[in-house]
């Protein structure tokens, strides 16, 4: 069963819930945070195409 390990977003009002949330100021920071978290967690980043990315353990 897949599990969301982290949520990274540029829009604080769009995200809330159980997984840790990381906020980014712009596209570059969003990409950098997603990259780091993917490598740290050995999980996969997915793009929800609305300024939010999630890190999922498959």
């Amino acid at each position: 069963m897949s599990e969301i390990l982290a949520v990274i977003s540029m829009f604080p009002d769009q995200v809330c819930g159980g997984a840790p949330i990381f906020l980014a100021k712009n596209e570059e920071e969003l990409e950098a945070l997603a990259f780091l978290l993917e490598k740290i967690m050995d999980a996969m980043a997915h793009d929800l195409k609305n300024g939010t990315k999630i890190i999922v353990k498959h």
Partner: protein
């Protein structure tokens, strides 16, 4: 020498039977790109077991002719022994599989283990009939039948290949934003720009078109799909490392028409070579289903 031995019919039968049994095992022991059985110790294990199987098969004939029927229970012992070979192979491969970048999958492992057991029975069969004809007729008849048995064993050695159940076409791999497609089949969502670029640069896409309803079911089998990915990654290399799930090769099915999209990231990016490799992937025995053989489907043409 043979003239001398000819006076000892049973001894000659056992010797020729065992020799042909061993020859059968050697001809079926083939370490190819999979490097399995491993060289040299894996091979030594299987050659030794082959010698035992050959001896058992050839000794059974004199004991039967001497009306020593209890000796046949020996064959039951042999069957037990070779079932153990199967579970030994299964165990080893399952353990090794945990450390593979692209695993074989349980269905492929079961297929390999089954082959090892089956080939030992073919050795017993070869040794038995060679020995039988040597004892009942003469040594050259025994050898003639032995060669015939070797040919039959080789026939049963290998199964079908993917090219006999599917048409394999090179397809376009494209990224639409973070979404990865092979032709029109959705594969996955790749979140990182870096991974997207790597996939664009190194990825390859192929489409497998099943030729009939039976092939559709086989291609849909998860074990068969994993075997495809493992074989391609073994031969063309896998451009990935541990903890990189975004670079994992994947197979996805088009539910409407049963086509299978294969997405791979090989080290050697050669679309034609990848197609050739896919054509030669073995069709796993355990993945084969024959819905067309069912009574309900025989009455009318199946339309799926």
């Amino acid at each position: 020498m043979i003239v001398l031995l000819a006076s000892h019919r049973y001894t000659l039968g056992i010797i020729i039977g065992t020799l042909f049994g061993i020859l059968a095992r050697l001809s079926m022991l083939h370490t190819d790109y999979r490097q399995y059985p491993t060289y040299p110790h894996g091979r030594i294990i299987h050659i030794s077991l082959g010698v035992i199987a050959a001896a058992l098969g050839s000794v059974a004939v004199p004991s039967l002719l001497e009306k020593n029927y209890t000796a046949i229970t020996f064959l039951a012992l042999a069957a037990q022994q070779f079932r153990d070979v199967r579970s030994m192979e299964r165990e080893t491969l399952t353990k090794i599989d945990q450390m593979e970048l692209v695993p074989r999958g349980p269905t492929y492992i079961e297929g390999i283990a089954m082959v090892f057991e089956g080939r030992n029975y073919l050795v017993i069969f070869t040794a038995f009939i060679t020995s039988l004809f040597t004892v009942l007729a003469t040594w050259y008849w025994g050898m003639f039948i032995g060669i015939f048995a070797l040919i039959i064993s080789r026939q049963y050695k290998s199964g079908k290949q993917l090219s006999s159940i599917a048409k394999i076409i090179n397809a376009e791999l494209r990224m639409s934003g973070p979404d990865l497609y092979v032709d029109d089949i959705y594969i996955m969502n790749v979140g990182l720009k870096e991974s997207q670029n790597k996939i664009r640069k190194h990825g390859l896409g192929l489409i497998l078109q099943p030729i009939n309803a039976n092939a559709k079911v086989t291609l849909a089998n998860l074990g068969q799909r994993q075997a495809i990915l493992h074989d391609v990654s073994t031969i063309l290399g896998a451009y990935r490392d541990s903890g990189e799930p975004s670079l994992i090769p994947l197979c996805k099915l088009d539910l409407d028409d049963g086509r299978l999209a294969v997405f791979i990231i090989p080290n050697d990016r050669d679309p034609e070579k990848a197609r050739q490799v896919l054509m030669r992937v073995p069709v796993l025995e355990s993945a084969v289903r024959m819905p067309s053989e069912a009574e309900v489907n025989k009455k009318r043409k199946i339309g799926w």
